[in-house]
Symmetry: C2
Subunit: 107 residues, 2 copies
């Protein structure tokens, strides 16, 4: 019953975490220390947040020597778009129903 949207919405609900993700979208590959300044929290906290983003599939990491580069996972946004589209779709369906209803009433 645990939808993929669950982890994504959950992950993005925290401002600090969403900030990290936005940063990665904007600037691409960045190390943990690189993200540290803008985040405004301690390094362990940044690491913890990145782990949550990674679990949600929003972020990928790549080891290189003693550095860990994080980058935003483009396809993750797809899930969000799909869900939003589905919701909008329900709307249109309802209008369609209303439409056919009105047409039926018209006869």
């Amino acid at each position: 019953m645990t939808e993929p949207q669950d982890a994504i919405f959950r992950a993005l609900s925290d401002p600090t975490r969403r900030g990290l993700f936005e940063r990665l979208c904007r600037d691409g590959d960045t190390t943990v220390v690189g993200l540290l300044g803008e985040a405004g929290v301690s390094q362990p906290v940044v690491s913890k947040h990145l782990k949550i983003l990674k679990t949600a599939g929003l972020v990928r990491d790549r080891q290189q020597g003693r550095y860990t580069y994080y980058s935003a996972e483009r396809d993750a946004l797809r899930t969000l778009v799909d869900w939003t589209t589905e919701m909008s779709g329900f709307w249109n369906d309802r209008f369609d129903d209303l439409d056919t209803l009105l047409k039926r009433m018209d006869q």
Copy 2:
């Protein structure tokens, strides 16, 4: 500094709450009692969730006698789409940068 996305992502991060919103998108105007069955939680909890959704601008309520009809707020999804589009945009910009960089290197 509190973005409108904050409340929206936060509101949708809880499955029960997202369930209520999805239900309202699908079926349109519904009373609290009408939402009660599918939600699987007590009436006060549903009311509390609806209040949070309302504060986030995801839902509107309309009083009618002793009934309160709730409905999904279509434009709220717009905020979500905009944010997602912005994130995707950053991506394309980065590719553009890479593109111009490669062209520059090519000369």
